[in-house]
């Protein structure tokens, strides 16, 4: 079965091309079938390959053809399949399939139905290529392909130019990260002579010692790419705006798959990062800082999708933290569980938006508990998993991360404390969302609850979110084992109790209104803080002032070609000469005679110059 692995990305790709070419004359049902079916087939294929692989976990490599061969640079279109790839593929195809099913109903009335599924399928294909790539160049192909698909999907409703603006912002910011990653690729090839991940890591281990500068630079460049794609500080500003796209898109791209690409990249090239401990620390700090920053901002948001977007950023911050402290398996595990419950939350919010005729502001919703029971229960389970309440999948993965963060020698406890604060905030804002939207008096009337095509994915995801914690991801032989002794039990109890405290706080503030925050919120400091946090710590505002406006100014200034002025000058000089000389042609004969005499005098002086000197 292993040789069939290249079929997995091919099926969605083919269906996407099919949908693009004959989008006009296909009936809506057939389009749905084709779109969902292709991802479903890919899922089944992954499942069967996965079963074979779990039987005898032997990673295998398959080369289709050498992409290009120039002197010693010969990357191939080659796929590498091991435990990590299996996990990623199953997440992509599994969650992808559910989201495709969900969107058949969500996008029911949309005019360009086929175009939507074409883009979505192409996205899944690109993501699959990304995770299955054997060499970094093919990974980069998947990387950019995913970027373009996210641009197309975020800007799907292109009639409104604001969506176009958001899509362009998403693409350009990620493109900055991609450029850094490309430079990383160039450095790696120049130093190590190959881009095939496995052989590259082997060569790196021989060639470099721990703590060299070159691996540090390479890792930081790769981190730049990861930060761009996974929306971490400093390149995170595009994700909240990317909510302009349809909600299933946000679910698939900005929750489950694309944003985790950065985590996958670092996990896949972990040997390099192990060679540069400083870069590991940087990853951890970036992760922690992002998770805290995003958590605070999520607290203040009023748009349901922006809350979830900031919560995604904060959760990925956790994964970066895990990778930073060397807990690779825990990071990937959290990636998987996060995909389940975040997709669940997004789809739930999609259902709410769909049936509340596109209402985004949570304070205008309320009391949906009775009217939309399926959505309510999916939100409850999703938020529980998000906040990592005990026995949910989120609990298992987040605790592992916090434990291993604690165990890290040196800054471990501090990272653990930061993580705890993040967990507390996560609990508060997730349940704030639940209480405000589902409890309290109803403000707007939803017209009905989810149809079966929405309900089934929600229920499946609820199941996964609950039991996800018990999955054992087969990455034991991919990553080095985690050292360090198990910390004292009190650390575990603290990390269990923190989410519960958060739940209690959220209940008190938002549901039963015992603790009155108004005095604090309306105070001058509170207002300032509120606006500061609401605007994403002012980073977006900063970028706008520092980068975007000057770029517009610069290009506007140079619009009509300053260089042309130089050539204009040359022309002007010639024109003036022409003008003077033309004036000299007065037509007066006496003037001509004068010029002849003048000429004679000049010739005489020139001719007599030397004899005069000789005298």
């Amino acid at each position: 079965m292993a040789e069939m692995v290249w079929l997995v990305p091919l099926i969605p790709l083919l269906s996407s091309v099919m949908l693009m070419l004959c989008s006009a004359n296909l009936p809506r049902l057939l389009i749905g079938l084709l779109g969902v079916g292709s991802v479903g087939a890919a899922a089944l294929l992954t499942l069967s390959i996965g079963m074979d692989f779990l039987a005898d976990p032997e990673p295998f490599q398959l080369t289709l053809w050498t992409w290009m061969q120039v002197s010693n640079f010969s990357p191939g279109i080659a796929f590498y399949f091991d435990g990590l790839t299996l996990v990623m593929m199953s997440v992509i195809t599994g969650v992808g399939f559910l989201i495709h099913l969900f969107s058949t109903e969500f996008m029911e009335e949309d005019a360009s139905y086929a175009r939507y599924f074409a883009y979505l399928n192409m996205f899944v294909a690109a993501m699959l290529i990304l995770v299955m790539a054997d060499n970094l160049l093919l990974l980069y192909l998947g990387w950019e392909g995913v970027g373009v698909c996210s641009y197309l999907l975020v800007g799907f409703w292109y009639q409104n130019s604001a969506n176009g603006q958001a899509a362009r912002k998403a693409f350009v910011v990620t493109r900055i990260g991609d450029t850094a990653m490309a430079l990383g690729l160039l450095l790696l090839f120049t130093e190590l002579g190959t881009l095939d991940i496995q052989s590259m890591m082997a060569v790196a281990n021989q060639q470099w010692q721990v703590g060299d500068t070159v691996p540090l630079i390479a890792c930081l460049l790769l981190l730049g790419g990861a930060v761009g794609k996974s929306a971490q500080l400093p390149l995170h500003t595009w994700l909240p705006d990317a909510m302009a796209g349809p909600t299933p898109v946000s679910a698939l791209i900005h929750a489950a798959t694309m944003v985790t690409a950065g985590v996958y990249l670092i996990a896949r090239t972990h040997d390099l990062f192990l060679l540069a401990p400083i870069s590991m620390m940087v990853v951890a700090l970036v992760g922690l800082a992002t998770s805290l920053m995003a958590a605070f901002t999520a607290l203040m948001q009023s748009d349901i999708k922006r809350i979830l977007a900031y919560s995604t950023i904060s959760q990925i911050g956790y994964m970066f933290l895990a990778l930073g402290v060397g807990a690779w398996a825990a990071g990937i595990f959290h990636l998987m569980t996060h995909a389940f419950f975040k997709a669940l939350l997004f789809l739930g919010s999609g259902a709410i938006i769909h049936y509340l005729h596109h209402e985004h502001d949570i304070f205008k919703m309320g009391g949906l508990r009775t009217k939309m029971p399926v959505t309510f229960w999916s939100f409850m389970i999703g938020s529980a998993a998000l906040a990592a309440l005990p026995m949910t999948s989120g609990f298992f993965s987040k605790d592992q991360i916090l434990l291993q963060a604690y165990m890290m020698p040196g800054a471990g406890p501090w990272l653990w404390l930061g993580g705890l604060l993040g967990a507390l905030l996560t609990a508060i804002y997730s349940f704030r969302l639940v209480f405000v939207v589902f409890f309290g008096e109803a403000k707007t009337e939803p017209d009905g609850d989810t149809g079966w095509r929405m309900a089934v994915p929600l229920v499946m995801l609820c199941g996964l979110a609950m039991i996800g914690g018990y999955f054992i991801i087969p990455v034991a032989d991919v990553f080095p084992a985690v050292s360090g002794e198990h910390p004292a039990h009190w650390v575990e109890y603290v990390s269990i109790s923190v989410p519960l405290i958060g739940l209690l706080l959220a209940y008190l503030i938002f549901h039963s209104r015992q603790i009155n925050m108004d005095t604090l919120v309306n105070s001058s400091v509170g207002q300032l803080l509120r606006r500061f946090w609401f605007g994403g710590w002012g980073i977006d505002w900063l970028y706008d002032r520092v980068f975007v406006r000057p770029y517009y100014l610069l290009s506007g200034l140079m619009k009509n070609e300053p260089i042309d002025a130089i050539y204009g000058l040359i022309v002007a000089v010639n024109q003036t000469f022409n003008h003077w000389l033309a004036e000299a042609q007065t037509g007066q004969m006496r003037w001509y005679i004068l010029s002849m005499v003048f000429g004679l005098i000049v010739l005489l002086t020139l001719a007599l110059q030397i004899p005069l000197e000789a005298l």
Binding site: A582, Q585, T586, G587, Q588, M589, R590, I593, V597
Partner: protein, 104 residues
């Protein structure tokens, strides 16, 4: 002919003076007749220089060229005066500054 042996340079000086006077006349005068006259002066200055040079080198060439210059000057003046008649009839004036229709 040892009688009047004036050094060559003096005569050359005189003829170049004559030449410059002719040129000056050419520049200053506006009336076409006087322009032709100053042309004659310049040509004769050259002729004088030739004769002096011929004398200096004791060769007849100078005077032969002098004869040549006379005939050429005559030809030019003949054609010149013919044109002057046309100018008088056409432009109603002999002032050469009026003939500046072509410029630029």
């Amino acid at each position: 002919m040892e009688g009047l042996n004036i050094p060559l340079n003096h005569i050359l000086l005189v003829s170049s003076l004559l030449f410059s006077i002719g040129m000056l006349g050419l520049m200053i005068r506006r009336n076409i007749i006087f322009i032709l006259m100053s042309l004659e002066v310049m040509l004769n200055a050259a002729a004088l220089a030739f004769v002096a040079a011929g004398a200096h080198w004791g060769q007849p060439d100078g005077q032969i060229i002098f004869m040549l210059i006379l005939s050429i000057a005559a030809a030019e003046v003949a054609v010149g005066l013919g044109l002057v008649l046309q100018v008088q009839r056409r432009f109603k004036t002999l002032d050469m500054d009026s003939a500046n229709r072509m410029r630029g």
